[in-house]
């Protein structure tokens, strides 16, 4: 596949690097593949987040990467009806090209899909391309999403969609029934993916809820902006943990070096002792002199009293 593309293009090299990384570390939460004819066109499918009305659902979508990727953000479009985002419409999030000022070049398709999963249960608050269905309707749509993948695009693209759907059906557990929760427990789960998804979900939800509470009286446009800002906190929070750990280790190393014994320190110890002794001697001398002066004063008093 690599031979077909222009390797001198930095965007192509970056996309191939991401593709290689995703192939070597596949995830149970999402899958994405580019088209054979155009590496800037991707198809993806995400699993509905756990413990929500979307759980068990398999939602397909399309990603369009710009020619200046990763310096410009991609655009995302969902194809499966889900009750949270409109289909066949570009999604408005801080990870998409609706807000290029919030995009970070270090983000990738993988981080974008993880963020998309985390944004499913959030409150849309009228954001562009968002829907606000009821929980029952969303669960119905989740069940329906597993039965068949959506029909979209050319036969080659449809073939890719079918392949992705088959992979996701085999990985994602079925939709849990409200009455019986044993069905979901029977299926094995990837603990690592679950840990990663859960670690991101609370942060994103917490950040979103906190910000939204502060902006209750804001107008629709401001709420849209606030919702977009919720994602950087979620994505960056996970990122920032690592640098702080590294700095702590570096600080520990420097502390260790400082505490190492050195010739200078050894040489100075006798010097300190001598100075301590000198200080004590000086103190004693001062006390003795004061006593002397006191004795003389007493004698003078005695002479005076004898005279009188």
């Amino acid at each position: 596949m690599a031979d077909k593309y222009n390797l001198k293009n930095p965007a192509v090299k970056r996309i191939l690097q991401e593709l290689k990384e995703m192939n070597s570390n596949p995830s149970d939460d999402f899958m994405s593949l580019p088209l054979e004819e155009n590496i800037f066109e991707w198809q993806f499918a995400i699993r509905g987040p756990r413990d929500t009305e979307f759980e068990g659902g398999i939602y397909h979508g399309r990603i369009q990467l710009p020619s200046e990727y990763p310096f410009k953000p991609p655009s995302f479009m969902l194809l499966t009806p889900n009750g949270r985002f409109e289909t066949q419409t570009k999604i408005c999030l801080s990870i998409s090209n609706h807000h290029p000022e919030h995009w970070q070049p270090s983000w990738s398709v993988r981080t974008a899909l993880v963020a998309l999963i985390a944004f499913m249960p959030t409150n849309p608050n009228g954001a562009l391309g968002s829907l606000d269905y009821k929980k029952e309707e969303r669960r119905t749509l989740a069940v329906k999403s597993r039965e068949a993948p959506p029909k979209f695009g050319t036969p080659e693209r449809q073939k890719l969609i079918d392949e992705i759907h088959e992979y996701m059906v085999s990985k994602a557990p079925p939709v849990p029934q409200p009455s019986a929760s044993e069905a979901s427990e029977e299926n094995p789960r990837n603990e690592e993916a679950e840990t990663h998804a859960n670690s991101l979900n609370p942060e994103s939800l917490t950040a979103g809820e906190v910000i939204l509470d502060q902006e209750v009286d804001g107008i629709v446009e401001e709420q849209e902006e606030v919702l977009a800002n919720a994602n950087p906190a979620g994505v960056e929070a996970s990122r920032e943990v690592q640098p702080s750990v590294s700095r702590y280790e570096v600080l520990q190393k420097s502390d260790t070096r400082v505490q190492n014994p050195k010739p200078e320190t050894r040489v100075q110890k006798p010097d300190d002792r001598l100075f301590t002794l000198a200080a004590i001697g000086l103190t004693i001398a001062i006390v003795v002199l004061l006593l002397k002066k006191f004795i003389k004063s007493t004698q003078h008093g005695a002479l005076f009293s004898d005279g009188s």
């Binding site: 001198k8 930095p10 090299k13 970056r14 690097q17 991401e18 290689k20 990384e21 070597s24 570390n25 200046e68 990763p70 310096f71 410009k72 000022e101 970070q104 070049p105 270090s106 983000w107 990738s108 993988r110 981080t111 690592e192 990663h196 950087p232 994505v235 960056e236 996970s238 990122r239 920032e240 690592q242 640098p243 700095r247 570096v250 600080l251 190393k253 420097s254 070096r257 400082v258 050195k262 200078e264 320190t265 040489v267 100075q268 006798p270 010097d271 300190d272 001598l274 100075f275 000198a278 200080a279 001697g281 000086l282 004693i284 001398a285 001062i286 003795v288 002199l289 002397k292 002066k293």
Partner: protein, 230 residues
């Protein structure tokens, strides 16, 4: 985030292929923008590694503010630190060329001053001088105290002068080194960490200097008292 997650995944899933292992080793030195081994690597104050061409393009053509592509911290070009390995620096066949863009040379490293030479031991002059004086006097009761005071005063006076002069030189060097680079910067650079260590040593010497000044003052007061009494 991507590299961190990748590393944890690789640890849990051992060696699916040889290329996986090799990429795992090089993950720590990959650019955060192009995900490839960093070419002309530069590192920001917040500790994130980039290719210089990638970072230059981001700062000068795409970023609305001078922010780090990973953590949005402020990036100042004059505070970027280049990494010099053992590879060829001049002609690199893997030169990354962005079309229609001339990228200048990456910022040069800010080399601190050469480390000061190790100072000679300081205890000898005071010790020998003090011992010599104290050993040569008569052991009488009254004269003993007086002579002890005199010898201590002399012992504390001359070494203080010498030490003040010596430490003045050292302090100037240390201040020159530390004023330009805050501790956070020193934490990420091996050479500067040594500078920080010496700074700690100098602090101890400054305390010794203060103590010597105090002793000199006390000696002077004792001399005044002796003159007044006699």
């Amino acid at each position: 985030m991507t590299s961190g997650f990748g590393e944890s995944t690789r640890a849990s899933a051992p060696s699916p292929s040889c290329s996986g292992n090799s990429s795992n080793d090089a993950g720590d030195f990959e650019c955060n923008i192009c995900f490839d081994l960093a070419q002309d690597p530069v590192i920001t104050l917040c500790g994130h590694l980039f290719c210089w061409p990638c970072l230059y393009r981001w700062l000068h053509h795409h970023s609305h503010s001078q922010e780090c592509p990973v953590c949005k911290a402020l990036v100042q070009e004059e505070k970027l630190v280049p990494l010099y390995g053992r590879g060829k620096t001049q002609t690199d066949p893997r030169t990354k060329s962005y079309p229609g863009m001339e990228i200048p040379h990456r910022p040069s490293g800010q080399r601190p001053q050469t480390a000061p030479p190790p100072p000679p031991p300081e205890a000898n002059p005071f010790g020998s001088y003090g011992f010599g004086l104290m050993g040569g006097f008569i052991p009488m009761a009254t004269a003993r105290f007086g002579n002890f005071t005199l010898s201590t005063a002399f012992g504390g006076f001359i070494p203080s002068l010498l030490n003040i002069h010596f430490h003045g030189f050292q302090d100037a060097t240390v201040y020159g080194t530390t004023s330009g680079y805050p501790f956070g910067f020193n934490g990420f650079h091996g050479g500067n960490t040594r500078g920080f260590t010496q700074a700690t040593g100098q602090v101890q010497r400054q305390e010794d200097n203060v103590l010597k000044n105090l002793l000199m003052l006390i000696g002077f007061l004792v001399l005044l008292t002796v003159i007044f009494v006699w």
